[in-house]
């Protein structure tokens, strides 16, 4: 356990890094999407377009900040704050390396026994930002967008919760660090089918949670003029975007932590340099970047679902699949092991 001031310092550094990560995620996304579509993507500002996020940020800051006259001013300002704060706070529970591995410091901010629960809880609180934002703007497009979004996120929370059940049952703990240390895949090959289905279900639910394509109904630029952020401009708009992108980073980090070995690297790297698979940060960051790439790949490939399809898929298919995975894993644990 680090002293309190170190924890605060780490939290601060993490927030700054995540915001930088958000900025460069937009770059990564645009470049990669460009390549998927035979384009180059932004490459004019600085080498490889690397200064593009900074230029965008400067532009964003100097935009006029419009608040609708009929808006509920306080909530209107509060909503983007809620979104971005809870997106940032979620990341705090994710361990980035073994204990004391970072120059004697722990490479995480909070080591909670209920880490997984905490992550699920904070991601769901983020929906308040969306909902309040849509409501406070006092516009029908915003309200529709936020209603859609809330319904979607609450529906897919079920899939999210049920698909992590398999991992929880195998690991017997909610502590993210212990889950990583245990490595759920190494317990028994009999558990693999359940885990694969759970990973699949979790992935889909997480995609819906962060409103990524094909579940990007809350925004739906083409129909809803960008949904709940219709009335937002300037920095508040940027904050919502920040929350969404940090949410994407969070989702990748959680998938990596629960299912893909988290901060641990592949063991065969230890043959090259002993202890390499235990290095903090790099493995987690590498996995996050790869998983973000898959999210962007989805964006390049799929179309937005219709609202009724979305709901039917969430309640009729995903819910049952996740439940099935949990039952399968439970049965294997009870009868085979």
């Amino acid at each position: 356990m680090d002293p309190l001031w170190v924890i605060f310092l780490k939290a601060f550094v993490m927030s700054v890094l995540l915001l930088g990560g958000f900025a460069y995620l937009t770059w990564y996304q645009r470049r990669l999407l460009g390549r998927f579509q035979h384009r180059l993507g932004p490459n004019r500002t600085g080498p490889f377009g690397l200064l593009q996020p900074i230029a965008d940020a400067i532009k964003m800051i100097f935009k006029q900040d419009v608040t609708p006259t009929r808006a509920d001013k306080f909530v209107f300002i509060l909503a983007p704050g809620i979104s971005v704060v809870f997106a940032l706070v979620t990341f705090g529970a994710i361990p980035a390396g073994p204990a004391n591995s970072f120059f004697g410091l722990d490479p995480w901010i909070l080591d909670l026994d209920i880490g997984l629960l905490y992550v699920l809880a904070t991601t769901s609180i983020g929906v308040y930002g969306i909902f309040l934002g849509g409501w406070a703007a006092n516009s029908k497009y915003s309200l529709l967008g936020s209603l859609r979004s809330s319904a979607q996120i609450i529906s897919y929370e079920l899939g999210l919760g049920l698909s992590v059940l398999s991992v929880i049952m195998i690991a017997g703990t909610l502590n993210l660090r212990e889950i990583v240390e245990l490595n759920v895949w190494s317990v028994s090959p009999w558990l693999w089918p359940g885990l694969i289905v759970a990973l699949f279900a979790f992935w889909i639910s997480a995609t819906a949670e962060v409103s990524n394509v094909p579940f990007d109904l809350p925004e739906a630029e083409q129909e809803l003029v960008a949904g709940y952020i219709t009335e937002y401009s300037s920095l508040k708009f940027a904050l919502f975007f920040m929350a969404e992108y940090v949410g994407m980073i969070n989702a990748s980090a959680i998938i990596a932590t629960l299912f893909l070995g988290g901060y641990k690297g592949p063991a065969f790297f230890d043959l090259l340099i002993p202890g390499m698979s235990e290095w903090p940060f790099i493995w987690l960051i590498l996995k996050i970047v790869l998983l973000l790439g898959v999210f962007i790949w989805l964006q390049a490939s799929l179309m937005r679902m219709r609202y009724d399809q979305l709901m039917r898929f969430g309640w009729v298919w995903l819910f049952e699949i996740a439940l099935g995975a949990a039952l399968l894993t439970g049965a294997v644990i009870a009868f085979v092991l």
Binding site: L32, G34, R35, F36, Q37, H38, R39, L40, P214, W297, L298, A300, S301, L302, M305, Q309
Partner: protein
């Protein structure tokens, strides 16, 4: 949306990830333009005599749907004619902001004097810089007004950002 279709679609996008981008890095790389591209107009001359083809008949101005052309005609001096006919255009102006590059003027012209060329880099700063006169369009003048000003300032040649194939109507224009 079946899982199989999703997988197939994602395979397609993935295969495109490794193909070469089609982007033309425009100002550095030259844009490849089709020979029949319709850009800035050229006023042509008879190649043998060097006389202007335009006889100041204003048919192009009449045909123009955007009212972009203004022509004023004058009698030719018989000893030192400007054009091959009786009259010539003493003033010939096209407002490039009004022009929609439809090519009707070219179709209407009885002598083939006005032909749409390939130049498209016409951006400029002031309204009156978009009104192109005879001195800006007669054959041999290369580049838009801004490009020529810029070349003069730098003391170099006018650099065009495109390449196009030859077009027979563009007599005497080699780009």
């Amino acid at each position: 949306m079946s899982i199989l279709n999703v997988a197939k679609g994602m395979g397609v996008t993935l295969s495109h990830l490794f193909k070469k981008p089609v982007t033309v890095q425009y100002p550095e790389e030259k844009a490849q333009i089709q020979a029949r591209f319709r850009g800035r107009h050229h006023l042509l001359r008879h190649p043998d005599t060097g006389l202007e083809k335009c006889i100041g008949c204003s048919l192009c101005a009449a045909a123009c749907p955007a009212y972009a052309i203004y022509v004023e005609a004058a009698e030719n001096d018989p000893d030192d004619p400007t054009s091959a006919g009786e009259r010539y255009a003493s003033i010939y102006e096209i407002n490039m902001l009004r022009c929609i590059f439809c090519g009707f003027c070219e179709e209407a012209c009885p002598t083939g004097a006005v032909v749409l060329g390939h130049e498209f880099e016409l951006a400029d700063f002031r309204y009156d810089h978009f009104v192109y006169g005879k001195e800006d369009m007669l054959v041999g003048v290369k580049g838009s007004k801004w490009q020529r000003r810029e070349a003069e300032r730098k003391g170099g040649e006018v650099e065009l950002g495109f390449q196009a194939g030859p077009r027979p109507e563009l007599e005497g224009v080699d780009y």
